[in-house]
């Protein structure tokens, strides 16, 4: 019966969509969008965005929509595995969970009884760090971190030490009111859907959007102005903007005086703040002509001019230090333009446009509010200049200071948490500089005992470093040592190399979760694989045990001894907690859950359940009742509901209290998860209109935040232009103070622990011959892929199954390269071969590629000749985890302040490959084998055929 096309008579325009819809949280990446999963005949019919969800408001990205293909991927692991062949061969046997957990408990138990440090527990894209970190603490090892150290600790640390909040996903531009927006080095970020929505809103509102990025794709493509900056020079560019603003006196002095430490007095002698007996910083009050607490409300502090304190010490306000530094000719547009690759006139014009937007287009919201001192303001007046920055700034060895420079620029414009400016997302702002401190000093690490604090935290001076008795690093990654004093997220990229070398000490077990460390999250990937397989003279592996939990057959699985297979994100409970990386916005805090939408069809277990089970087997105190029984027999769901970090504070902030009526703080609610499910799998609190801006100094907000348990005290958070902790470390290098830095680290500390933002060329750029390696090489996140885990996805991999090396058309022409040629990319460390794509929109001295597309043959259950392995490549092979030798020592390839991995400092040269070498990538490591019973991938995938109309 042919259908009647002209009327559509027989076309079913109202087919049934699904039997059931369940709300949960996406985990195709770490952005935490809310999803509605349609189920039909027990299978997933359709995943769509949850329109009520604060993060994505109904939209989904490409990955989110491809969740079905991850969920049914043939690369899923299906049973615990024990290695039987050599590491890296992929030779496993399947074992039962009991045996797997018993084995893990045995290895871990032995370590705990002997020296808990010998466990290095590192998690990657983990969204349960409040659990994993706490577990490490209970176990007693300081050797814990998640991906932050190789990711964006520069941004986190610079923000938290400067403004009490940070870029990353912890703040957001005021998309609604901004009139000028600058985006530094962002391809996708963890706010991917909100950023896209925000950019569209800015454009609709007629705001100007400036993108600072060596590459013009994605977000940069839609910018009103693109500045193709030379990588690693953003700090200079921003300082030149600051120079222009200062010279023209186009700065928000009122903001600086009220909300920053600009008026605080810096002692001439040691560069620390002058303080009163109570420890309050001092300023010089012009009304009384005397020193006064800088925290007091009724002072009129002096901004420039040296003063003599009653005790005779000389001091100068922070403002003067700052103004003098950036007004110096070295920061003039003329002095930086060439290095940054941005013309003088452009720098000056951008400065003028910033000032114009901030001071001549101010946004006024008719909303009275009360400041920290109890003063009522009739209106909220804002500077509609917004900024956002991420890894383009972060992944450089000068990223900490560059990020601080951007925050300084924002402060000078009065553009922090004011209408139209960048805004804090709850639970920020937090006290600045931040707390708590890291745990893991020698006295805190004891056999059989918890550490008594979380492994990661914030050092405020040398006294907070985690050093052994000899002053060497306590942690395997050397975080919080003199090499990386403010390594707030650890140095995950150093773990394998250090463990292999036994530097600072050998470990017994490397326990990893959701981190593809044998491949794309390591620098020097091929060599890393060798380290994992390297043996001692006695034939045993240098890293004796490797336990790993992955949900899929990633490269790292092949290098592990014991595999604890995880479920997919649609098969488990999870919580997206305020204690970790929640779903808050500037409008209010929120958190969310994942619920099992379908039951696992394999013998796999949620890793959090496994971790809690292991904790019970190891009898870790926080997980065990007094009688020795397990405290959370119901696994993670039980823990989510019943665990309390502090009285009344648990993993989820919503629907607390026995009746579910309390928010933030309240007793556990046994029906909490049900309430979340009823509410679409998330909870959110809306701040009152008078709490929405000036949060760092807004009494209404600060008090509300205390009630919600976001901060402890309703005190003003003063933004730190001048960073005292930095100065403390510098003093240690100058031989000032009780704890002094070892001689060999002093010059480096002296150079990089400046209390005001500085700029220096990135390390690799100064330590290799830039004549030999003239080009910068960076990577970008492809929007439809998440690191390594998109390649197993039948839909996503079609979009990108291999990557190319992109370079400027004219640069390519000079090198005799044309589109489609294969070329060698060589760094001081190694070389890889890639196919060329030329383009207009890229800085002429920069080449780039998409991140993590190249795959090891055999991994992810792809055919060994899949383009991912034959044509796709990793730039990581070229990036050394160590800098070139300097005076007999090789520092890690990291930011000297935070230990942030300096992925984007890479320098290379590119040469056409011989005729005979065209056609495939290099290196191509041998294919890895498959564990037994891996699903055989189909040759045709007909997903949805089951719902075809009969």
């Amino acid at each position: 019966m042919p259908m009647d096309g002209s009327t559509g008579g027989t076309i079913d325009t109202s087919p049934k969509v699904s039997d059931e819809v369940k709300c949960t949280t996406c985990y195709m990446c770490a952005c935490r969008c809310g999803i509605r999963v349609h189920l039909r005949d027990g299978r997933i019919r359709y995943i769509e965005g949850n329109k009520d969800h604060p993060v994505n408001r109904g939209v989904l990205c490409a990955k989110g929509s491809a969740g079905i293909m991850n969920h049914y991927s043939p690369a899923r692991l299906s049973k615990p595995l024990l290695r039987i062949g050599e590491r890296g061969a992929g030779d496993f046997k399947e074992i039962e969970w009991d045996e797997a957990l018993g084995l893990a408990a045995k290895w871990l138990g032995d370590i705990r009884a002997d020296d808990p440090k010998k466990l290095a527990f590192f998690t990657g894209r983990d969204q349960s760090q409040s659990l994993t970190g706490w577990w490490a603490n209970q176990f007693g090892t300081p050797n814990f971190a998640a991906h932050g150290g190789f990711c964006s600790v520069n941004m986190a640390a610079a923000g938290l030490y400067t403004i009490g909040g940070s870029f990353w996903e912890f703040g957001e531009p005021d998309w609604e009111h901004a009139k000028y927006f600058m985006l530094f080095g962002v391809a996708e970020d963890h706010d991917s859907n909100p950023i896209k929505a925000g950019l569209a809103k800015l454009k609709a509102n007629g705001a100007k959007y400036v993108s600072v990025n060596p590459v013009k794709t994605g977000y940069q493509a839609v910018a009103d102005e693109w500045l193709g900056i030379a990588p690693g020079t953003d700090g200079l560019f921003v300082m030149a903007l600051i120079h222009e603003l200062l010279k023209a006196d186009k700065i928000d002095l009122e903001f600086l005086v009220r909300y920053t430490n600009a008026p605080w007095l810096v002692l001439k002698a040691d560069g620390l703040f002058a303080r009163d007996a109570a420890g309050n910083p001092l300023c010089w009050d012009t009304k009384t002509g005397a020193a006064a607490s800088a925290l007091s409300a009724d002072v009129s502090p002096k901004l420039v001019g040296e003063v003599t304190l009653p005790d005779g010490r000389k001091a100068t306000p922070v403002f003067e230090h700052m103004a003098l530094r950036y007004m110096a000719p070295e920061y003039a547009a003329e002095a930086v333009a060439e290095r940054c690759g941005i013309p003088v006139a452009t720098i000056k014009r951008i400065a003028a446009e910033l000032a114009h937007a901030a001071f001549e287009q101010q946004v006024v919201i008719d909303q009275p509010w009360t400041d920290w001192a109890g003063r009522r303001h009739e209106k909220m007046v804002g500077r509609p200049v917004s900024m956002h920055a991420m890894r383009g700034i972060s992944a450089h060895s000068n990223g900490f200071h560059t990020c601080r420079a951007i925050h300084l620029l924002q402060m000078l414009l009065g553009a922090i948490d004011t209408p139209g400016a960048w805004r804090y997302k709850a639970p920020f702002p937090r006290p600045c500089p931040p707390g708590p401190k890291p745990t893991g000093k020698p006295a805190q690490v004891n056999p059989g005992k918890p550490m008594g604090g979380m492994p990661l935290g914030f050092t405020l001076g040398p006294e907070d470093l985690l050093l052994d008795e000899a002053g060497g690093p306590m942690r395997i990654d050397k975080a919080y040592s003199w090499e990386a004093p403010i390594a707030a997220h650890g140095l995950m990229h150093m773990v394998i190399a250090n463990a292999w070398k036994g530097d600072p000490y050998p470990i017994d077990t490397l326990f990893m979760y959701m981190a593809n460390m044998a491949w794309n999250s390591s620098m020097n990937s091929a060599e890393t694989a060798r380290m994992l397989t390297d043996k001692r003279d006695d034939g045993s592996y240098r890293i004796p045990h490797i336990i790993y939990s992955d949900a899929f057959y990633s490269e790292t699985v092949a290098y592990s001894d014991l595999i604890l297979p995880d479920t997919t994100y649609l098969e488990r409970w999870d919580c997206i907690s305020l204690l970790d990386r929640p779903i808050c916005s500037a409008e209010g805090p929120g958190d969310a859950i994942r619920q099992p939408v379908v039951a696992p069809d394999r013998d796999v277990r949620p890793f959090q359940d496994v971790l809690i089970d292991l904790a019970a087997r190891l009898k870790l105190p926080g997980f065990t009742n007094a009688d020795g029984s397990a405290k959370f027999p119901g696994g993670y769901a039980d823990y989510i509901v019943n665990h309390e970090r502090k009285p009344g504070v648990g993993p989820l902030a919503g629907f607390r209290g026995t009746d579910g009526a309390k928010s933030g703080v309240g007793e556990p609610n046994p029906k909490q998860l049900e309430r979340y499910i009823e509410n679409g799998a998330f909870w959110r609190h809306h701040f009152e209109p008078d709490q929405l801006y000036f949060k760092h100094a807004n009494r209404g907000y600060l008090e509300a935040a205390v009630k919600l348990g976001l901060i402890d005290k309703a005190e003003q958070i003063v933004l730190q232009i001048y960073s005292e902790p930095m100065q403390k470390f510098r003093n240690a290098a100058r031989g000032i103070g009780p704890i002094q830095a070892p001689a060999e680290h002093r010059a480096r500390l002296e150079a990089h622990f400046d209390p005001l933002p500085i700029w220096y060329p990135t390390f690799e750029g100064t330590q290799v011959d830039t004549g030999e390696f003239p080009l910068h090489a960076v990577t970008q996140r492809p929007m439809p892929m998440y690191h390594s885990w998109g390649s197993q996805n039948a839909w996503l991999r079609q979009i990108m199954s291999h990557n190319r090396l992109y370079m400027n058309v004219r640069t390519a022409a000079k090198l005799g390269l044309a589109d489609d040629d294969w070329a060698w990319i060589t760094s001081h460390h190694g070389r890889v071969k890639a196919q060329i794509r030329t383009m207009e929109g890229v800085n002429p001295n920069t080449v780039w590629t998409w991140n993590a597309i190249g795959k090891r043959a055999g991994a992810w259950n792809l055919d060994a000749d899949a383009p991912e392995a034959t044509k796709g490549f990793l730039l990581n092979h070229l990036i050394s985890e160590l800098l070139p030798d300097r005076n007999g020592y090789r520092y890690s390839n990291s930011d000297p302040v935070t230990g942030q991995a300096a992925w984007y400092d890479l320098r290379v040269r590119v040469e056409k490959a011989d005729q005979a070498e065209q056609g495939e990538t290099s290196p191509r490591l041998p294919a890895i084998g498959h564990p037994p019973n891996m699903t055989k991938p189909p040759s045709i995938l007909r997903y949805g055929a089951q719902w075809k109309k009969p």
Partner: protein
């Protein structure tokens, strides 16, 4: 029917308007389209060699990337493309079986999978590359404008838009009646100078593209001057002096 019938009185010209100014090339629309449609009216949208070397599949929406202009002022343009539901499309008229047809009431161009013989001629006739051959079933498939969503009474009213439109994070996709000059989409097209692709083909596409907005790089584009004026006393005074006597209270 392969012959194009005159639109019915009161009929609509449903189509998409795609904003090249805000499209960031994220492929969200393409994947959501695949996801919806692989279980929808045209189910399935098969994938061939899905985990192997020569992977390909049936997609109704694909995102291309171009660069327009040269040098620093070039514009990278992400360019999504699906069926344009042309008013006079040869993809319909060349079809020998009548499987390919354009609905008189709303202009949606569809393929009847039960009568299509898979001759591929319609795909040759489409200059836009909007027809997708399902080699597994041996029939042609294509964007249906989500005909099983836009009228679907099992969906809430605000969900009755194409999957690609509802998922686009950058609001770069709009759906509506382009035959009605007062519709939101028609007004958008008029305001922003929306254009049709390859007008020289004379297929009269219904879908419209909104051009990227002009770059804002010229002096004065935001109302600001070329550079900041230095305070008159800047040259004479010590640079810090002008802040010496500033009295600001906390």
């Amino acid at each position: 029917m392969t012959s194009l019938t005159a639109p019915l009185p009161g009929s609509k010209k449903l189509g998409l308007v795609i904003d090249l100014d805000t499209c960031v090339g994220c492929h969200a629309c393409a994947v959501n389209c695949k996801e919806w449609n692989t279980g929808g009216h045209s189910a399935p949208l098969p994938d061939f060699d899905p985990y192997g070397a020569n992977v390909s599949g049936v997609w109704f929406n694909r995102i291309h990337t171009f660069e327009a202009g040269e040098g620093d002022s070039s514009r990278t343009v992400h360019f999504p493309k699906s069926c344009l539901h042309c008013e006079t499309p040869a993809c319909v008229t060349v079809c020998p079986t009548g499987a390919s047809f354009k609905r008189a009431e709303d202009g949606i161009v569809l393929v009847n999978p039960d009568t299509c013989i898979g001759c591929k001629l319609c795909s040759w006739a489409c200059p836009y590359g909007a027809r997708e051959f399902d080699a597994d079933e041996g029939v042609m498939k294509k964007c249906t404008l989500c005909i099983d969503r836009i009228y679907n009474e099992n969906l809430a009213e605000n969900e009755r838009v194409p999957a690609c439109v509802s998922t686009c994070p950058a609001s770069a996709r709009h759906f509506g009646d382009l035959g009605d000059p007062s519709s939101d989409v028609s007004r958008l097209v008029a305001e922003r100078g929306g254009f049709a692709l390859m007008p020289e083909m004379e297929y009269a596409p219904v879908n419209r593209y909104l051009p990227p907005r002009a770059a804002k790089t010229a002096v004065g584009c935001t109302g600001a001057k070329a550079e900041l004026d230095r305070p008159a006393d800047a040259a004479v005074l010590h640079p810090l002096l002008r802040w010496m006597d500033k009295v600001l209270s906390r």
